[in-house]
Symmetry: C2
Subunit: 347 residues, 2 copies
């Protein structure tokens, strides 16, 4: 795999990207080329310090501009043509790279990937898939921010893309897909979620949906049941994702705070460190996933958390590798062909 890394993206860029690059060069054997895109004058000394400047797989690609978190997504693509993010996406567009990864401005990464790489045949809108920990491994929540005002037909595409991730990346043989709602009964939902439910149920009944549609689902289904894909619009999905992350962080913070208040508890915590807290962190910390794919674009595009560290970047590169190796995009095209035709026939 050849990967373009937006080395200037992220709250603690470029250092975290250099850290991640170093880890990936050591741990991802299929990484043939790693393009580090950004201000060469900043990147080269950091690469030298990390001992990766002379690695034959590393290509430092100069890009003078940087997209900030304040830039609007569309404006960043139009006005900062020489940003590290734009140039990184261009490397996939031109075919030099298979995948692009950025921990920068999410809206700009979505816009750059969608505009430059374009959508896969049959896909109406790109969507971000986020993996949350669950009893059976991971549940995909999609969309988590690319498309705040989604239409029901967009969610049909997200259903297919999320289920393909569950099947080929997370090894779930028969992915179960549900529509997030304010109650599991058929009658529950907003006008939008009820329309989505209806459309999914119709496609399922006609034998056009190649996975298991299970109806409405709720928060606890994500964590406790066999659910694989939780469908929602990018507005609700983004709020859901960030609230879940914030809850886990608050839980962990409150736990630490109470431990500090008691010497006995501190001893207890010491005994629990290896067997419990390390495992818990590996399960609940978003860095363990590293990045969320923007699915539906013609190329692999991974968006990492702004707060990503080197480990997160490594894990996001692993995600890109798994998606390339499993030909996820070819599978999307094949799965969407009959569904897209049926959606078009409905008008």
């Amino acid at each position: 795999m050849k990967l373009a890394l937006d080395a200037m993206g992220g709250d603690n860029a470029p250092q975290i990207n250099i850290d991640g690059a170093k880890l990936a060069l050591a741990e991802v054997p299929t990484l043939e080329k790693l393009y580090l895109v950004g201000r060469e004058e900043e990147l080269r000394p950091l690469c030298e310090a990390a001992g990766i400047a002379d690695d034959p797989r590393v290509v430092i690609t100069h890009a003078p501009e940087v997209v900030t978190m304040e830039d609007s997504g569309l404006m960043a693509v139009r006005q900062k043509k020489h940003s590290s993010m734009s140039v990184a996406v261009d490397l996939v567009k031109s075919g030099e790279c298979d995948a692009v990864l950025s921990a920068g401005n999410t809206g700009a990464a979505v816009a750059a990937s969608t505009i430059k790489l374009r959508l896969l045949p049959g896909v109406e809108r790109a969507g971000i898939v986020s993996m949350l920990p669950s009893a059976h491994g991971h549940t995909m929540v999609t969309d988590t921010g690319a498309n705040p005002d989604a239409k029901p037909s967009h969610l049909v595409g997200y259903a297919v893309m999320g289920a393909l991730m569950a099947k080929y990346i997370y090894g779930r043989p028969e992915p179960q897909v549900g529509v997030m709602s304010n109650g599991t009964e058929d009658c529950k939902g907003s006008e939008f979620s009820k329309e989505t439910y209806k459309l999914m149920a119709e496609l399922d009944k006609e034998g056009l949906f190649p996975f298991n549609f299970i109806g409405n689902c709720e928060g606890h289904d994500i964590f406790e049941t066999e659910l694989d894909v939780a469908l929602t619009d990018g507005f609700t999905g983004n709020i859901l994702l960030k609230s879940v992350e914030a809850t886990a962080k608050f839980f962990s913070h409150t736990l630490k705070q109470h431990i500090k208040e008691s010497a006995v508890a501190m001893l207890g915590a010491l005994l629990m460190k290896g067997p419990v807290f390390k495992k818990l962190s590996a399960r609940m910390n978003p860095d363990a996933i590293g990045g969320n794919p923007l699915m539906g674009v013609n190329g692999v595009s991974i968006i990492a958390h702004g707060s990503a560290n080197g480990t997160a970047i490594l894990n996001a590169i692993r995600m890109a590798e798994a998606m390339c190796k499993n030909n996820i995009n070819d599978r999307i095209i094949a799965a969407m062909e009959p569904i897209s035709a049926a959606l078009k026939a409905r008008g």
Copy 2:
């Protein structure tokens, strides 16, 4: 305070309501009358077993029907006029009680309270306010399920009602109110959230909003910042609330699972029980709040979780008492008068 308790509501009813009633009779000195509404033949023996049947404050009020979780909200109100829920709400409508509490079907509790009690002057729609733990105490999230397809003007009402709860029940002198969105920048949001933002900002600029409007907010703001009220529609709010609860439960479950895997960890957990885990549970367990008020109706109506236990019922009764004592509804009427006029003038 005189309170009507829907004794048949909740997954483990009626026992949990009898448990809660017994606790409240012992611990809430201002509880003058407690109407236990439901099937007398079931309730009386349970009250006798709990030793509260002869308490002069207890009134067992017979209601032959029970609203189930499968009943649709509106149909339950129309067709089960003699349900424990309907009869309990009627006790507030007739003025015999100040407040009603139910752990039954939320949709039915919302419908019964709204239809029978009607809305307060100036309030366009009733909304549920849920309290989440935060660094400064509690953040109100509203609406969490009464109104899935809300309009921006409905959220203005929720802003006022949530802020009044923060101020008078949780002692926050200058409540901060934000609009939940997929990013904090002004430009972020769905069409709906952006319209809500705009309307809130206009009312604030005109000096009509008597609290602090701080713009967009996200999941982490609920837990980590000085935010007091997070505004959203009932669809997104319900998904947010249930996902937060599910995350806390999953975190706690995973923690317990890892503890069980190691004898050393079990010893550590034993040391942490009192100083850490009990405090953490008191902070994260929804039973510590007990019930969420349905605000905007003419009377105090509290909706408890279906999985409520006796402690949750006690705490929900305490919430009702605090709302009555602080004349929250009179304050809503006063605060909504100029805002409602301004909203009407806009058309």
